[in-house]
């Protein structure tokens, strides 16, 4: 196990370096640079442009700059943004990344859970119009043109019934007299919700071990108590109204992404469940006379969870790609929007910083996925 982890770590470091090199030279190969954009005014003499270029280090050859960047990066320095000079890249990421991650994690956790349960049942009851209708609906939701889908959600929930705000992270009017900044409250919200989720998770696991006639009640209690505690905490907190402001802005993008990701999970689960049902161990389990529900949930679903688990893990790095679209539509100031704004003006440090963070997330989630496989399928072992 440790040897496996050590090898993987070495591979990850090499892959990350190659990834950084590929992206750096790709970004650098773009014609022009930010100095051109900052000195667009024809009254600025070319000498000033040269000076600016020299100050930003853009006059050095790309290879030299790349190795300097890598050297600084591994000392924990990601540089400063060209566009928002002298804001540090790490500060931009620190501000923007949690917003995107919360958006995606909440959407994905809900959609994966619901998608897994429905996909499982669909595969079990194969055939009939329910299967075709749900597959076609699922495929349309899965291949929907996301900007349009987002706009439809805005039209439905923000324009027609005016339930949620149409976009942005917060309503500035509520924050004029606020003593703290939005990120302070947002981080607090994230942490408190995370603690509540962990309590729910532990409660669910524990309630699975008690006698079956008390199980449903125990599950209900373990679900309601943490949520009530969470609500109570924010109700009594002085920032309750501000937290509600952020939450109301969060609902619409999360709902959109949940529906979008739900379809994908449902389709993957169905396919993977159908494949698993052909395995010999399912035949054995049935031959032993186990109840159908046990075969479905304990034998088939556990193995069928593998591709779904991969999907869940991989949705994390895909947060950037998806984030660019969703955040543009909902004007959500997350990392995708920051990336898009930086990429079009060739703000190299910001673009590199965001891509590198996403690259690290991808590599780590690959590793977590691989370790998770061994837990889900006892036949998989890494030696």
């Amino acid at each position: 196990m440790w040897r496996f982890l050590g090898q993987r770590f070495l591979q990850m470091v090499i892959t990350l370096f190659l990834f950084q090199a590929a992206t750096y030279f790709l970004i650098d190969a773009q014609p022009g640079d930010i100095a051109d954009l900052l000195t667009l005014d024809p009254n600025i003499p070319p000498s000033e442009r040269q000076r600016l270029r020299a100050e930003l280090g853009l006059d050095r050859p790309p290879v030299e700059r790349f190795f300097k960047y890598i050297g600084n990066f591994y000392q924990g320095d990601m540089g400063v943004s060209f566009q928002e000079y002298p804001k540090k890249v790490i500060d931009i990421i620190e501000e923007r990344l949690p917003r995107t991650l919360v958006l995606f994690l909440s959407a994905n956790l809900v959609s994966f859970w619901v998608g897994f349960v429905t996909g499982k049942i669909l595969a079990w009851r194969r055939g009939g119009w329910v299967e075709y209708a749900s597959t076609i609906t699922g495929v349309i939701l899965y291949t929907v043109f996301l900007p349009w889908f987002g706009l439809m959600m805005i039209w439905l929930f923000a324009v027609t019934i005016d339930l949620f705000p149409a976009g942005k992270f917060l309503s500035p009017i509520n924050w004029l007299t606020a003593p703290v900044n939005a990120n302070y409250i947002f981080i607090r919200m994230t942490i408190s919700t995370f603690i509540a989720l962990i309590v729910i998770f532990i409660g669910t696991v524990l309630s699975n071990r008690i006698e079956s006639r008390y199980r449903f009640g125990a599950r209900l209690v373990s679900f309601i108590v943490p949520l009530a505690g969470l609500l109570y905490y924010w109700q009594t907190s002085e920032f309750g109204a501000l937290a509600w402001d952020i939450t109301s802005h969060l609902v619409l993008p999360v709902l959109t992404l949940t529906l979008y990701a739900y379809a994908g999970t449902m389709l993957i689960t169905r396919t993977s469940m159908l494949e698993t049902l052909r395995e010999d161990f399912i035949f054995t389990a049935r031959a032993k006379g186990l109840p159908e529900k046990v075969v479905r949930d304990k034998h088939a679903a556990r193995t069928a969870l593998l591709p779904v688990w991969t999907g869940l893990i991989f949705s994390l790095p895909a947060a950037l790609s998806g984030g660019i679209i969703t955040e543009t539509i909902f004007s959500w100031p997350g990392i995708g929007l920051a990336y898009l704004q930086a990429a079009v003006v060739e703000d190299i440090p910001v673009v590199m910083g965001i891509l590198t963070i996403i690259g690290i997330l991808t590599l780590v989630s690959h590793l977590i996925a691989d370790i998770g496989y061994a837990f889900l399928d006892p036949r998989i072992r890494y030696n």
Partner: protein, 319 residues
Amino acid sequence: MTATTPPDATITIPEVPLWRARLQMGLSSLRSSWAMFAENPIGIIGLAVIIFYGLFAAAHPVLMSTVWDRKVYDPVNGFDIEIAFHPSSPSLRHPLGTDVLGRDVLSQLMFSTRYEFALGMLAALATSIVATTIGAVSAYYGGVIDLLLMRLADLVYMMPLLPILIVLGALMDIGMIELAIVLGLLFGFGGTAIVVKSQALSVKVKPFIEAARIAGGSDFHIIFKHLVPNLLPISLLYMMFTVNTAIAYEAILSFFGLTTITMSWGLMINVTQVFGYLLRFDTWWLLFPASIAITTLCAAFYLVGRALDEVVNPRLRRR
């Protein structure tokens, strides 16, 4: 050709030329695959939608040369001077209205369809050629070649596609062909190669590969004559999934205005956005036709892909 009978033979074996025997075998396997495909209404629905869009695209040049006046209905340069205010709502003259620049929306929609098809097909072709070659070579040789190719595949697979395409959009002029090739290469080197390779590994250990090697076949011969044909079904399957992904990415890139494509479904929405009509739902014909077209065509290819999956993958079959 007629079957010839050797004079001294008692049992007559009809001597069919090799190409005809192969054709017959191919046809019969195609027929049984089609029967399996046709059993599934999902694939048929997808195929029907694709055929509908095919006819839709084919109708455009016909309409342009017969009914529609080029000055008014040209998808890129047309302008209807008889209407005072653009965008105008749907009418008999313009079934889906006109856009902000006074161009007919239906004509744009029909004109773009052929390019969406071309883009999807080209990307899919590039993906399947690259992925099949890499998968077969990687599985056949193993060792260092396998290690290098698969690490490369991991690296490409790891790249967040949309951010990379945004950077590429600034790096070069991305038209339909460039986009198709870039997407095809990225898919081909990435995820699809990994899938095809795992299939190739199971083909590689089959006895006929061993037989071909004993018969003195070169590596090149074995890979392309024996290994690759057995990878074509899975390759075809992933071609379908590439088509819908390629169309979706084109739409999103055009929506952000990062391509140099003169007319496409994504660009129609981009124009709507640039002129500030995106959130105005009273001018629905500027947003809905193109969005629905993107969604349904992608869904159709995906449905066909899923139905093919049930043909190619025996474990998904009903029986």
